[in-house]
C-alpha cells in the first residue's frame, strides 16, 4: 500500500472510542458516567485536602461553629454537595458492579440492565438521604 495513502487515511479516521456513531444505551451511558464521576471524585479528593488545610489554619471562633451548617448559605456549596454525593454513590455502586463482572458474574444482558438500574436508583436515594440529612 502506498505510504502517502495510509498517512492521509489515518488523518481522516475518527479517534476512538467513536462515541458519536453509537446509539446511546444504558450500559454505555453508565460506563461513561463511571469515568465522569471518577474525575469529579478525584477533584473532590483534592478539595478535601484543601478543606483539611483550611480546618487546620482556622481561628478558634470559626472552629467553634457547626461545620456543615455553612453549606446551606450558598447555592454553589449545595450544588457541590449534591454532585459530589451522587458521584460517590454512583462510582461506588458501579464499582461493585465491575467487581462482580471481574468475577465473571452478572454479564447476561438482562442482569447487566437490572444492576445498572439498581445502581442509578441507589445513587439517587443515597444522595437524597445524605444531602437531606446535612441541609
Amino acid at each position: 500500500m502506498d505510504p502517502s495513502t495510509t498517512s492521509s487515511r489515518s488523518k481522516i479516521r475518527p479517534l476512538s472510542p467513536h462515541i458519536q456513531i453509537y446509539k446511546p444505551q444504558l450500559t454505555s451511558i453508565l460506563s461513561i458516567m463511571h469515568r465522569g464521576t471518577g474525575i469529579i471524585l478525584s477533584l473532590t479528593a483534592f478539595l478535601s485536602v484543601w478543606a483539611l488545610y483550611a480546618l487546620r489554619t482556622m481561628d478558634n471562633d470559626a472552629l467553634s461553629l457547626p461545620l456543615f451548617h455553612s453549606f446551606k448559605s450558598s447555592f454553589l456549596s449545595v450544588a457541590f454537595l449534591v454532585v459530589a454525593t451522587f458521584s460517590l454513590f454512583f462510582h461506588m455502586g458501579n464499582g461493585v458492579r465491575h467487581l462482580f463482572w471481574d468475577m465473571g458474574k452478572g454479564f447476561e444482558l438482562k442482569t447487566a440492565y437490572q444492576s445498572g438500574y439498581a445502581v442509578l436508583i441507589i445513587s439517587i436515594l443515597g444522595t437524597l438521604i445524605i444531602v437531606g440529612g446535612f441541609l
Binding site: I39, L55, A62, L63, L65, P66, F68, L88, M92
Partner: protein, 111 residues
C-alpha cells in the same frame, strides 16, 4: 512507578481492584461517621482526628484514595490522548499532582 500501561497494565488493573475494595470499606465508614457528626464543630472534628487509631485510618484511606485516583486518571489519559509526547507529559503532571496532594494531606493528618 512505571507510566507504561502496555507493559504493566495488568498490575495497574489489579492495584485498581484492591484499592477499590479498601476504599469501599473505608468510605462507607467515613460516610457513616460524617453523618453521625453532621452537627459537629470544627474543633470536634479536629479532636476526632487526634486519636491515633483514626489518624492511622485517615492516613491509609487518603493514600489509597489518591493511588486509586491516579490509576483511574492515568487510564483515561492513556485512552483519550493519542499524541505520545502530550500523553507522557500529562501522565507525569498527573503523577506529580497526586503525589503532592497525597504527601500534603498525609502531613496534615499526621502532624
Amino acid at each position: 512507578m512505571s507510566l507504561k500501561s502496555s507493559a504493566k497494565g495488568h498490575v495497574s488493573w489489579r492495584h485498581q481492584r484492591v484499592t477499590a475494595i479498601i476504599l469501599l470499606l473505608s468510605l462507607c465508614f467515613i460516610l457513616f461517621t460524617l453523618c453521625c457528626q453532621r452537627h459537629a464543630s470544627g474543633q470536634e472534628l479536629l479532636h476526632w482526628l487526634h486519636h491515633p487509631a483514626y489518624k492511622a485510618f485517615a492516613f491509609i484511606s487518603l493514600n489509597t484514595l489518591f493511588y486509586h485516583s491516579f490509576l483511574g486518571i492515568k487510564m483515561v489519559l492513556e485512552d483519550y490522548i493519542h499524541l505520545k509526547a502530550i500523553r507522557q507529559a500529562s501522565l507525569f503532571v498527573c503523577f506529580i499532582v497526586h503525589l503532592f496532594f497525597a504527601t500534603f494531606g498525609s502531613i496534615l493528618i499526621l502532624f
